[in-house]
Symmetry: C2
Amino acid sequence: MEDYIVLKKLRRTPERNYLLKLIYERNDHFGAEDLFHAIDKNQFNVSKATVYNSLDLFLECGIITKHYLNNNTSIYEKAYGFKQHDHFICQECKKIIEFCDPRLYQIKKSLEEVLKVEINSHQLYLYGSCQDKACKGSRK
Amino acid sequence: MEDYIVLKKLRRTPERNYLLKLIYERNDHFGAEDLFHAIDKNQFNVSKATVYNSLDLFLECGIITKHYLNNNTSIYEKAYGFKQHDHFICQECKKIIEFCDPRLYQIKKSLEEVLKVEINSHQLYLYGSCQDKACKGSRK
DNA sequence: ATATTTGCAAAGAGTTTGCATCATA
DNA sequence: TATGATGCAAACTCTTTGCAAATAT
């Protein structure tokens, strides 16, 4: 699991290793604060600054992905070894459904030509409501 | 231009009218702060709180659109009478190019079926580099 | 040895809130 | 006149920064 570490020419510190471990243990979308609180303070004392620093680093390394939510905060998810996907976000219950649609790549390709630009990445968020019982139940 | 005001059952205040005017005078993507600074303090004294309140209101009315940028801030653009479009953002020079691709609607339609959800809106941002001379020139 | 990384606490940016005052309907 | 809207400043949240001490290479 920690074999994924590709810290390039950077230093391998216990804090980074520990944070990576925490990240790979979870399968959700988490905020910097979530990660900070997941730290076992008895085991390790990682500061918030280091959490942010490390997240930036992991992001650059492609180990995690960052999403900018509609409340001006960010969440992350591990990325390494997972295929590129996009997100549907239920506005009622905040559930996130991941999906992947190859047609998006066609769109990107043709837009590169039409707009005469080079596209490196994209973010697609679909907003709406899911049909979960639990979700419906929570509606006012 | 101010005929667009559809303040529903809400009050028509001089502050809101003035802000709407400012918004319709500009054709760019602007932040709350930008709008606040665009206020002619001699002419009007609109507080920051009112700017934020009004932007929320205009957003609900569909008069403006809100985008969440990759630095956890928001920008707005007027929406009324403009057709839905998406954005390419140059990571070098921050230029924004708007585009509209009908295939995205097909994707949304089929995802509604596949994911069994109802999609109300979406946000698609493409990131990359444009080929402008001015942009290239600014690269380190 | 030395340049990077850390922790801490303080600063910062953007946004929201509380409340008394004001003003639209 | 009654409720909604405003201005102000303080509070809040998330994130970044400065710096001395610690540490990986």
